[in-house]
């Protein structure tokens, strides 16, 4: 299940919501979210920080961006991409 999820994310040509991924994997958004957090813990995904690197020292850091809205983003890390690519070449 985690392999398939990582593959879906790595192959994704556009942003994916937990609801859409849940549809694809035949499960619930809640479970997808849990798996995403697991993949992030294992270093396959990285959870975005609230601000980009350039925000260090910025007085607006606490206010700008996605912090207030509660949006969370995850991107695939190099480690995750490697596994995702292997899976794309040799579907399991």
């Amino acid at each position: 299940m985690l392999h398939r999820l990582l593959q879906q994310i790595a192959e994704g040509a556009h942003p994916q919501t937990t609801a859409a991924l849940a549809d694809t994997l035949g499960t619930t958004p809640e479970l997808v979210l849990q798996m995403i957090e697991q993949l992030a813990r294992q270093g396959y995904l990285s959870a975005s920080t609230q601000c980009a690197d350039g925000c260090e020292g910025c007085s607006l850091k606490a206010l700008c961006g996605v912090k207030n809205s509660g949006t969370r983003l995850w991107t695939v890390t190099e480690k995750g991409r490697q596994v995702g690519e292997i899976l794309c070449d040799f579907p399991t």
Binding site: H14, T18, E30, A52, S69
Partner: protein
């Protein structure tokens, strides 16, 4: 391979009270159950050698006494935290007679991962399906009997907060400890990909695993990358054997995906079997709104309507205020000129035209920005901004960007400075850099003001069409340049990502107020420092050495650039005017006024239609104002600022030459 479940063996169970350990995630009602069962018969202390609170207590049911131990709240048993280590060490070393796994019925998926891990430990597990009332309120129906059959362990539906199910829970615990009910847990199994490796590791460590650990469980944890078990086995195994085990673990670092993946599959099966979710008609507000607002067609229509409303609101409310502030600034400039009439003329003019006229002009845009910031803050705080990012991602992705780049680019229509600063919300450095490079191509209000003043002079009643064509052309060029930069220069990382969309909610006035205040303050700080300083310098260049504009250093430089102007059919005055737009876009008009006098009648005669269009195109694509350049430098450094300036300079001049040459060929 042996089952990781050990035979329950405490022989003293007949003499001592049976021990029940309560396990579960934080906030699933574990403490409520503990308190209801033990009442006043509880003791609070710390776990030995730890700072984590330990609660123990006793209760009696049907004449039988039980000792209850409240384990720390944990999400798994992977030794990631002190709480997880305490919970699993207690179950392994103290081996309670029964583990009651408390789960939240409303978010069953969240709780079952821990249950999957508990089933691998020696003690038998009873599932306390708590918060059934909350699940019911959410429209979630759970069938405890089906879940019981699927898990193979006793399941007790309950609602501790309402006091229901407590008696049934303790009765089930008593029956299970007396072996009156069957216990046949259906545990998750590792996916076939790594089953063979697990067996190899099991075989290598089997004889060396210290008691009370189970070799099968230790092998699994090793493959999961559990540091504590690694340290344990490194000490316990002969060095050569450990090297073999370590080699296998190193080669199969991704085994966790198969192990945890199998657990999620197992959870999925349980949920499918026993949980019925609310149907479409019962969906929450967020889901219903998202059905429309994230739909490719309806969502785009809604987005266009929202953006239209944002611009309408900003300009309808902001423009009269801007005109009013413009009047104030002009009045102030005249007042200062009069007040300084006794000083040398250059000094009075520097203050009136250079400093107040330059920096003050920028400040007049403040009302528009304040309204724009407020509207953006509302969109952000309600959760809609995340949907904008999601919807626009498709287009942005072709440029190597994602939807979040849309937000700063949108800000660019007001002013490029907050647009560049706004790129800070973009996580990846590459996407951020690309957005910074593209942002100056978004026509800001100042650039649009110049276009709006000059276009009617050249094109009369067709001015509206020409102006919209210029805006559209700038945006098409922005998209094409983005694609080019992405494909040729900045090719690189994939931007595949997942976005968790927040729930819609009413905006918080304080949050919005703070957002507007801090952004406005940052804008004013810039206007009062960089813009003010540079305005003064440029004014001095346009005044000295003789005090006559046509003999100034700036004009000399304009003459030097005359050959470039000729390729576009532009006299040197036009090139100089373009050059002064580097300070602030509006300077173009001021400079033309100085160099031509009555430029409204002089200009149409001085330029052919092709040259006029070429000038407007260059004006539209030219390097941004100095405040924007300074901000770009601050955000991406000298090298990329230079690249951006050369790129925009080359792009604007090439486009101008192309327009003029083609227009002339066509006879315009």
């Amino acid at each position: 391979m042996a089952s990781p479940l050990a035979n329950p063996s405490p022989e003293e169970s007949s003499t001592k009270p049976a021990v029940i350990a309560l396990a579960g995630q934080p906030n699933v009602g574990k403490s409520t159950i503990f308190n209801m069962l033990t009442g006043l018969n509880q003791h609070v202390g710390n776990w030995p050698g730890k700072t984590v609170e330990q609660k123990t207590g006793t209760c009696t049911y049907d004449g039988q006494k039980f000792t209850l131990v409240d384990l720390p709240g944990t999400y798994s048993l992977t030794a990631n935290s002190e709480e997880e280590r305490i919970a699993r060490d207690y179950i392994i070393h103290e081996r309670p007679d029964i583990v009651v796994a408390v789960v939240d019925a409303a978010i069953l998926e969240r709780s079952l991962y821990l249950v999957a891990e508990l089933l691998l430990l020696p003690s038998p597990v009873v599932l306390a399906l708590n918060m059934m009332d909350v699940a019911e309120q959410e429209g979630i129906k759970i069938e405890p009997q089906v879940l019981e059959a699927a898990l193979g362990i006793p399941v007790v539906p309950m609602s501790a907060a309402r006091g229901t199910g407590i008696q049934e829970l303790i009765a089930t615990v008593e029956s299970l400890s007396a072996e009156e009910i069957s216990y046949q847990p259906k545990r998750p199994v590792i996916l076939p990909g790594h089953q063979v490796i697990l067996e190899k590791i099991h075989a290598l460590i089997e004889d060396s695993v210290p008691a009370p650990y189970q070799p099968a469980w230790v092998a699994l944890k090793l493959l999961e990358g559990d540091d504590e078990m690694r340290a344990l086995m490194q000490d316990a195994l002969p060095e050569a054997t450990w090297k073999q085990v370590h080699g296998l673990l190193y080669q199969h670092e991704d085994a966790i995906l198969d192990i945890a993946g199998a657990r999620y599959q197992w959870i999925g099966r349980m949920i499918r079997a026993a949980v019925v979710r609310p149907k479409i008609g019962q969906m929450g507000m967020t889901a219903r709104l998202d059905n429309v607002l994230t739909h490719p067609v309806w969502g785009t229509v809604a987005l266009l309507a929202v953006l239209g409303a944002v611009f309408w609101l900003t300009y309808t409310l902001g423009s009269p205020l801007q005109a009013w502030m413009g009047g104030l600034v002009e009045g102030l400039a005249e007042g200062v000129r009069n007040a300084l009439s006794s000083t040398p003329p250059w000094f009075a003019n520097l203050w009136a035209d250079g400093i107040i006229g330059g920096a003050g002009m920028v400040v007049t845009f403040l009302p528009i920005l304040v309204i724009f910031f407020a509207v953006l803050a509302i969109l952000e705080d309600t959760g809609y901004m995340a949907r904008i990012a999601y919807l626009t991602d498709q287009v942005m992705h072709t440029m190597g960007l994602h939807g979040k780049s849309f937000i700063p680019l949108l800000l660019g229509f007001g002013c490029n400075v907050p647009a560049i600063l706004g790129t800070r919300i973009i996580e990846t450095q590459r996407a951020r850099l690309l957005t910074v490079l593209l942002a100056p191509l978004v026509p800001c209000t100042a650039r649009m003001a110049v276009i709006m003043v000059l276009t009617p002079l050249f094109f009369g009643d067709k001015a509206g069409l020409v102006a919209w064509g210029l805006v559209a052309a700038a945006l098409v060029i922005l998209a094409l340049l983005g694609i080019l930069l992405h494909r040729v220069i900045l090719k690189g990382e994939q931007v595949a990502f997942i976005m968790e969309l927040p729930l819609y909610h009413l905006p918080n006035l304080r949050t919005i107020g703070l957002y507007v205040w801090h952004n406005t303050l940052a804008f004013l700080q810039k206007a009062g420092t960089i813009i003010l300083g540079v305005s003064a310098v440029i004014w001095l260049l346009s005044y000295f050495p003789t005090g006559v504009a046509t003999e100034s250093y700036l004009t000399l430089f304009g003459h030097w650039l005359e050959p470039i102007g000729l390729w576009m059919g532009l006299p040197w005055q036009m090139v100089t005017a373009l050059l002064t737009s580097f300070i602030a876009k509006e300077n173009t008009i001021a400079t033309l006024s100085i160099l031509y006098g009555d430029f409204e009648t002089a200009l149409p005669a001085a330029l052919t239609p092709s040259a006029a269009l070429a000038f407007l195109v260059v004006q539209m694509l030219f390097i941004p104002c100095v405040a924007t350049v300074a901000t770009i430098k601050q955000e991406v450094g000298n090298r990329w600022t230079l690249v951006n300036l050369l790129l925009l300079l080359g792009l604007s001049l090439s486009a101008g030459v192309l327009v003029y040459q083609v227009g002339t060929l066509l006879g315009f």
